[in-house]
């Protein structure tokens, strides 16, 4: 996978980290995610991605995001060492 690419959050695997770059979608979805602290520039870690909802940790909080909504969060995958 191209490391510089912008990918939806759903494509990160369990244990992967990324930086939020953009939130696409309607005003409702965007403002909801922003208000929860899912904001461009923040580091996000995927704690669980098993086909259903995604479990993430961001800003010291954990969230369960339904797959549909997670598709709207565009991240920049971080290189793992």
């Amino acid at each position: 996978m191209n490391l510089n690419s912008k990918i939806p959050l759903t494509m990160l695997k369990e244990g992967d980290e990324g930086i939020v770059i953009d939130i696409i979608g309607g005003r409702g979805a965007v403002s909801k995610l922003l208000a929860l602290g899912i904001v461009p520039g923040k580091k996000v870690k995927v704690l669980g991605n098993r086909g259903g909802a995604i479990l993430i940790s961001i800003n010291g909080s954990k969230f369960v995001i339904g797959r549909g909504l997670a598709m709207k969060v565009i991240v920049h995958a971080e290189q793992k060492n």
């Binding site: 929860l36 479990l55 909080s61 954990k62 369960v64 995001i65 339904g66 909504l69």
Partner: protein
Amino acid sequence: MKIAMVGNPNVGKTALLNVLTGGNFEVGNFPGTTVEKKEGKTKIDGKDVIFVDLPGIYSLEAYSLDEKVAKDFLTNERPDLILNVVNASNLERNLYLTLQLVDFKIPMILVLNMVDEAEKKGIKVDAEKLSKILGVPVVKTVAVKGIGIDELKREILKGGSVPKIEVGGDLRSKLETAEKIVKEVVKIEKKRVDLTEVFDEVFMDRHLGIPIFIAFMWMMFTFTYTVATPLTNLIASVFSILSERISSMNGILFSLIGKGIIKGVGSVLVFLPNIAFLFIALALLELSGYMSRAVYLMDGIMTTFGLTGRSVIPLIIGFGCNVPAVMATRTIEDDKVRIATILVNPFISCSARLPIYVLFAGIFFPTLGSAVIMGLYAFGVIVALISALIFRKVLLRGEAEYIIELPPYRIPNPRDVWILTWNRTKHFLQKAGTVILAMSIVIWFLTNFPNPSIDKSYAGMLGRLLQPLFAPMGWDWQFVLAILMGFVAKEVVVETLGILNTPIAKIMTMPQALAFMVFSLLYMPCLATLATIKAETGWKWTIFAVIYSFAVAYAVALTVGVVARLI
């Protein structure tokens, strides 16, 4: 003085309200516990104060119902003071809302709650500096231990102050400001091991997560049934003695009270221990923080059937009673998923249907009894899930979106468990109690007039009249009458057969019995459940629920009867 409590979900607003007013409001460790606004009155230093507990919200953009309730209140009712409750260990995110509250120009006090949890995580907040930046008083509290409450009361009497900080109107500039403020006032020291992380390693494990969830559910049901059984038996015998004593006296009034009211109401009160214990178990799951983990664990399976992880809890509650289960769907934000979850809920076999299975399985499957009963429960779940899939593919199409925050694990406080359990049990008693009382009288009338021998009563006539409808299943009129009466509450099915002295083993075959059990499982939500469905979704879906479930029950019972005869 009118004071609004505003803050994110699960920051301790209700807990704070309880210590400030000495009230008994429900706290929860599950986002979205306070759905409507609640008021609490008290006196501070002789001054009358009204607190309004608003639903927890993340922003005031008014995209969701909760946000609208809060925004409308602040705009239209202009409280004298806002208590903005924030979680000290998650200040940045909480400040987004604070910075939106600034726009209202209402006097404010910032309550920095949960400082105990923040300290455990090594997070220190400089309250004085924060107070200077925002231009409002900042008070540190631990609501559950009553720490900081006296100081908070003093500040309340002073009336707070209108925030002086300058911040742009759009959300993005508020986000930036929040980040800057946090850099100045929050210090993170070396972290100690966070127990929540340790628990999540186990409970959310890829392989162990679901087995542990199933184990918890199994424990919950053992607790609900086994532990409650002695109490159930006690209540049952008290009511049967009362009923016999009173109805043995002469006179129609004693017959009404003994055979009608006490017997009928007793048949429902018998389930009180089961239901109360179920609610205790649920309160423990909720307050400990496990409930939202279950949402994640089950999401994959639920999405396969067009639902989301959010539907799991209402479905589980349905095993106890469908009435609170339907009410519990209120936390589902997607309307279509919510309606689908409500409509399939009655297929989840509630505790009231168990006596029917026990009776028939005992007669027709003496050795395989518990397997048959387990099978019926499983069958209900399958019908519910398949129906959900059909509804979401045909009637309620559309992508569901949701996001919930996982709270940390907490040890449930017994007082909070009690408040949650009692409020829900009370609700069940009120809803079921009124309906059952009325219907007990109706049944008594139907079975005692015009002739007290049931055979010649209105009930007997009604059973015979409707019997042809169920002729393909081969059931006698007594069973038809039992089903009809069971519409009031499923436990009445057994009661009716009892009153009729039905010689079940003599007039029914095994395939017919199997079909009857399946039909009882599926045929229609009971009256109390229907009333709740009506309140939550309106007439259209209620009528749909009746027709759909009856059609499914009829078709399935017929098939089961035929297939069982062939085997």
